[in-house]
Every structure is written in structure tokens, then in C-alpha cells.
Chain length 390, copies 2
């Protein structure tokens, strides 16, 4: 794990079922930080607070609660977010500006902040370098498993670690960030470079996953660097050594999110190639990845490639339907806009039973490529979301 970071997660009573719902990340020394937040016009109170505080470029602790989004909660909601940071700062003997706050859960219900206040001493007491899984559990909503990943890298002979933790599992589409995601590193790095690297990485990782096409009011991704490993990032060449590690961490978290998506049974890469540009390829991949008709067919393990072409055709990009090839993994399913017949169907049926596979759409019009990762759309997704608040 990253040097100098400690974690904790406890049950404060915000979740009705008594599960962990309050988490804390603490760096032993002040760290540099960068953040990316939801682009939704409706922003939760803690998002608004963090967007103000992160301008300083430093923080030393992040407190996160699940069970309530503290969104659409008015003046009291903002006061609750500020108080949460203040109680945490006091228990850690920090200035309150050094504490960021994140929340996730139901929108529009007042936060029972007194439960957080009562639990903060225990939370601080539990801080431990090895308790990241407690933290990961404490931020879960409809997630069924905690999501943590750690990768090691090297800069000028000094090894460093990048550790990420995130939660899903619905209200997710690629739009700047995706719900709550915290990445810690013991490399040293100025906050403006952290921000550049985080943006660049998210663009090809978290912004390429979708579950249901809805974006959250609470999306927050933070990258926190405390420098305790001695590894230092301050030039482009060194960034290039850090960036791929960060990409790996965020892509791993992204895939973990999709695999644990509400009701999902499949992780499917929609890979578009042969587009006139990468932007065109992305638009088509994104439209296919969001098609409810395709996603229900994937749930049914039905190689309904007509729905892929129909979705590609409404992406707002000119295409030549009778040029298009489609592959399910390595099975050639559609050749020049027409089905490859019964044998291909039978082979594709086997691919569709797998938990992970790629659907490749070759437009044969250029060199543009893009991938979006999606999941199937199941009966359980509907069940989970029909009764989320009850």
C-alpha cells in the first residue's frame, strides 16, 4: 500500500441495515491533491464544498459517507458538509480546510449529521494503513463487493505505489468522473500536474465506462500525492512513467465497477475501428454501449447484431451500412452489413455465454478507433432500481 496513508470505515447508522457507511482517508503529512467533479448542473453540497477547497491544491484527509447523497438538501445540507469536515479536522488536529467531504446515497433526504458527529472519534481511532477494505466497504451503496487496486511503479530508481478505491454501481455514465473514486500515491507531485494526469487518465478509463447512462450529482474523483516514497514527479519524462500506472489503476477500477454494475452479468467492450476519426468512433461506441435494446439482448445471450447496426446508425455520424463488419470476440458475425449465417450464430452464442468479451465494429472508412465498456441490462437492474429508496 501507499506509504503514509491510513484508512478506516465504520457503521454510523446512516445505512438502515447497520452496514459500514462512514469512511476516512488520512495522510500522515499534508498532501497535494487534484479532483474532477460531476458536470451535472445539480451538485451535492459536499461537491460544491470540495470544488472550493481543492483550489488550494492540498488536503490531508477525506471523509466519505454512504446512505445519503446530501444533495438537494439546501442550506442545512451545506452546513452539514462543513460540520462534517470540522468534526473530522478537530479529531485529527488539522485545519478544517485540509479535509474534503464526499457523500453517496439517496438524493433529497436530509443528512442525519449527528450520526456522523457521534461516529467520528471511533473512525479516527480506527485509522490504520491496512484498513483500506473497511473504507471501500463504507462507501458502497448497491455495490456487492469493495473495489480496491494497487500498482507499483519506479521513478529514478525510487519505487512508488498508486492505490485506488471506488464505488458504483448505478447512475453511471462517462461524464468527467464516475461516482466516488479515490486514488492515493506516495509519489510527490505538484497539484497542477496531478490534475493534468488525472484528467488525461479519466478520459480513457472512467469516461469510457457506462452502466445505465445516468450521471450522478455526487461524482468525485480525487488524486492525492503525499511524496513519502521519495519518488518525485516534476518533468514530462517522469510523468510519462507515472501516467501508465495511473491509467492501469483507473481502468482496473472502471472494469471492477462494470463487473459489479447493478444486476449486470457481463462486462462487454464495444470496440469501434475504421471510423473517419477517433471522435466518430467514440460517438458510435458510446451510442451502442447505451442501447437498452442491445443491453437486454446481451442479458439474454442473443447475438442480435441488427440492434448494434441500428444503434450505430443513430449516433449522428455518417456511416456506410453495407461496408460494416462486426465481430463477437473472434467470431465474424456480420460481413459488409449482412449476417454471416447459422454457423457464425452458433459460435457467437458460445461467446455470449462468457462473462467478459469484446464486440468489434469495423466501419472500414478510416483509422479512427475507440472503446467503451458496458454491461448487460438485466431483470435485477429493474428490481434494484424500482425499490431503491424503500
Amino acid at each position: 500500500m501507499c506509504q503514509g496513508f491510513k484508512f478506516a470505515g465504520v457503521a454510523s447508522g446512516l445505512k438502515k441495515d447497520g452496514k459500514k457507511d462512514l469512511g476516512l482517508i488520512y495522510s500522515e503529512i499534508p498532501a497535494n491533491v487534484a479532483g474532477v467533479f460531476t458536470r451535472n448542473e445539480v451538485k451535492a453540497a459536499p461537491v460544491i464544498l470540495d470544488m472550493q477547497r481543492i483550489v488550494s491544491g492540498t488536503c490531508q484527509a477525506v471523509i466519505a459517507n454512504s446512505g445519503n447523497a446530501n444533495c438537494c438538501t439546501g442550506e442545512k445540507g451545506m452546513q452539514d458538509a462543513i460540520s462534517t469536515a470540522r468534526w473530522t479536522a478537530k479529531a485529527l488536529a488539522l485545519s478544517e480546510e485540509q479535509v474534503l467531504v464526499t457523500s453517496t446515497g439517496v438524493i433529497g433526504e436530509p443528512l442525519a449529521a449527528e450520526k456522523i458527529q457521534a461516529a467520528v472519534p471511533d473512525l479516527v481511532n480506527d485509522l490504520d494503513p491496512d484498513r483500506i477494505s473497511d473504507f471501500a466497504e463504507a462507501i458502497m451503496t448497491t455495490d456487492t463487493v469493495p473495489k480496491v487496486v494497487s500498482k507499483k511503479g519506479n521513478l529514478d530508481g525510487k519505487s512508488f505505489t498508486v492505490t485506488g478505491v471506488a464505488k458504483g454501481a448505478g447512475m453511471i455514465r462517462p461524464d468527467m468522473a464516475t461516482l466516488l473514486c479515490f486514488v492515493m500515491t506516495d509519489a510527490a507531485c505538484p497539484s497542477d500536474i496531478l490534475y493534468e494526469m488525472l484528467l488525461k487518465s479519466i478520459d480513457h478509463t472512467l469516461n469510457r465506462i457506462t452502466i445505465d447512462g445516468d450521471t450522478s450529482t455526487n461524482d468525485t474523483a480525487l488524486l492525492i500525492a503525499n511524496g513519502l516514497s521519495g519518488a518525485v514527479i516534476n518533468s514530462n519524462a517522469q510523468n510519462r512513467q507515472f501516467q501508465p500506472i495511473l491509467d492501469e489503476v483507473l481502468m482496473s477500477l472502471g472494469k471492477q465497477l462494470i463487473k459489479d454494475a447493478e444486476g449486470a452479468t457481463k462486462l462487454v467492450e464495444i470496440a469501434v475501428k475504421g471510423a473517419k476519426s477517433d471522435v466518430d468512433a467514440y460517438r458510435i461506441a458510446d451510442t451502442i454501449a447505451h442501447s437498452n435494446l442491445l443491453k437486454t439482448a446481451l442479458f439474454g445471450e442473443d447475438a442480435n447484431w441488427g440492434r448494434i447496426l441500428a444503434a450505430a446508425g443513430r449516433a449522428g455520424v455518417p456511416i456506410q451500412p453495407d461496408a460494416i463488419d462486426i465481430y463477437f470476440s473472434d467470431v465474424w458475425m456480420v460481413k459488409s452489413g449482412m449476417g454471416c449465417g447459422k454457423k457464425a450464430e452458433a459460435e457467437a452464442a458460445q461467446i455470449l455465454k462468457q462473462p467478459e468479451y469484446t464486440i468489434t465494429i469495423d466501419l472500414k472508412a478510416g483509422k479512427g478507433v475507440a472503446s467503451v465498456f458496458t454491461c448487460d441490462f438485466s431483470i435485477d437492474y429493474v428490481k434494484i432500481n424500482a425499490s431503491y429508496r424503500s
Copy 2:
């Protein structure tokens, strides 16, 4: 019913279950016609054929099949569409250019055109002014009920009738037309005025309904006028008397489509008001109407208004969340961006049990208004679409 129009519907064997799958509309005299077609880049063979033929502005018959979309079927598909028109024309003693062809069903499977050829004589033989319900049945795919509506109007003392028939029930979003829709009138009208009126009407009716956000490769809406009532449309004032009748017919069909949407249990109007412009209002209503999270909550009869605000916030329109009011029918649910409490929740719970209701979102920022009609997203939608081809 409209004077001079005859209808038929038979089972040709295209549908595996032996239900009606081939329909015919015939006008006793050549009629003027206008059509609106899918904007999907992937267009079925009959759509491509009709787009060529409709340029003449006249037609006398429309043959429609369900059970196969004749889309992504290559050269053979186009030949099958042409042959279908030719067989029909021969049996009716018409020129083949006077016959339009529409198809709906699975994409990407070759059309068993020989079944159509064999059934055409029976189909023509069955033509009758009173058999529109047979035609309506013959174009059904996942629809559970046929959709027909008739309205009467008056022009210069001469009464006329507008009769519409349509099919759903999935792969529907507002994008120029919505699957197959045929509107007949016995008023007389030049085809260019028919086109203007059809476009104008669709913009506020069929283009304001959504089921699942996917658009079809086969969308076709036709307006056919044979003039046999003696009523004549040829000036703006007279158009204004015809337009509202056409609007009524298309809105009725649109609502019938939503009520019979795949798996749907609710017809919900998303009414946005107080936007800076009608375009802003439409964008927000459209985004809310497509939110899977809201649609699953509506299925669960859960007044989860946070999901309405979250969807409004990602519509790409600047909004002031703490100004927004939301009503479920006449229940004031959200006031200035915050929930109205337990009493409102209890009242809203009663509204959500109804089969039809309106959700009103008041942005309090201007005079822009727009409505989009949507349905809930149910377990049955997933079941229907997970196994559509099997």
C-alpha cells in the same frame, strides 16, 4: 371510416406463431401522399424504396409485413421489396410505382418473400372498407393490441375523416417518425401541403413520445389523401382546420403506442415549464423521459424525485437547482429544489399507482414549455427484449 379506402390483413407465415403478418391499404382512386422516414443511417430496403417512390407524390396502395424488417439484407432485400410491390400491383391492376412497401420485425434475416407472393391474392381478395383492424393486427410485432383511431372534421361545409393506424412497441424514440404509422384521409390535398402538415404534426406528437430511446431502421409515417369526401385543402386557412384533426389522430396513436409499450404499466407526461426557451424545455423533458433510473422508479411506484433533478441536471442546459418545483399530478413534491416532506410523499405514492399521470418540472426561469410522453421501465421489458429473436 375514410371514404374510398379498403384494408386487409392475413397470415402469410412470416410470423412463426401463425398470426396475421401481411397487411394492405388500398385507395379506390390514386391518392396524394407524403411520408416521413427514419433518420437512422441504417435504413431497411423498403424505406429506401419508398423514399424514391414518394417523390412522385402519389400512391394507391401500401403493403406492410411484420415478422421481418427486411433490413441489412443486401441486394436480395431490395429485390424482395421491389417484387413485393410488383406482386401487389399486378393483383390490383396498378402500376408498380403506385405501391409503397413497409416492413417491421427482426433485422438481418433474409425475407421469405415467396410467402408474401403466395399470400397476395388472398390479401387483395379480402380488401374491405371495414377491415382496418385486420390490417392493424397484421403490422403488430410485440404490440399486444391493435392501434387505430378515426376523427371527423369539416371544411367549407363538407365533412371529412382522418383515420390512423400504427404499431409499436419497442425501439422507439422521437426522431422524425416512430415505426409504422399510416394516416388516411378522404379530404383532397396536394402532396406538398400534406408533407408540411405531417412534419408539423409529428413534431408535436410522435416526436414527443419515447419508449426505450432506440430508433428503428424502418420508421415510416405516411399521410394519404384521396379526396373522395369532396372536402378540399388548398389554402392556409383550410389547412388550419385540418391540422388540429391530424394532430389529434397522431397524438392518440402516440399515446396508444406508449400505453402498449413493451412491458409498460404507466403512461407518464414529463411536462417542463418555466424554461428560458421551448428548446431548453424540450431538452430537459427529453433527458428526464429517457432516464432509466427514473423509469425503473416509476415502475416501482417510487416518487424518487432526486432522479428527476439529476436527469434535468445532465440535459446540457444551465439550470438553477434551488429554484425548481416538481409536481406529481397536482401534488407539490419539490419546492425550490427541496422535498416537501412526508405528507407530499404519501400523496404522491397514490398518484404513482395510477396508469396515467403528469410530472411537471417548473424551472422558474422563463416561459419555455415542452412535454415528452414516456413509460415506465419494467421487468417485462427486459424479458421481452432478452429473447426477441428466439
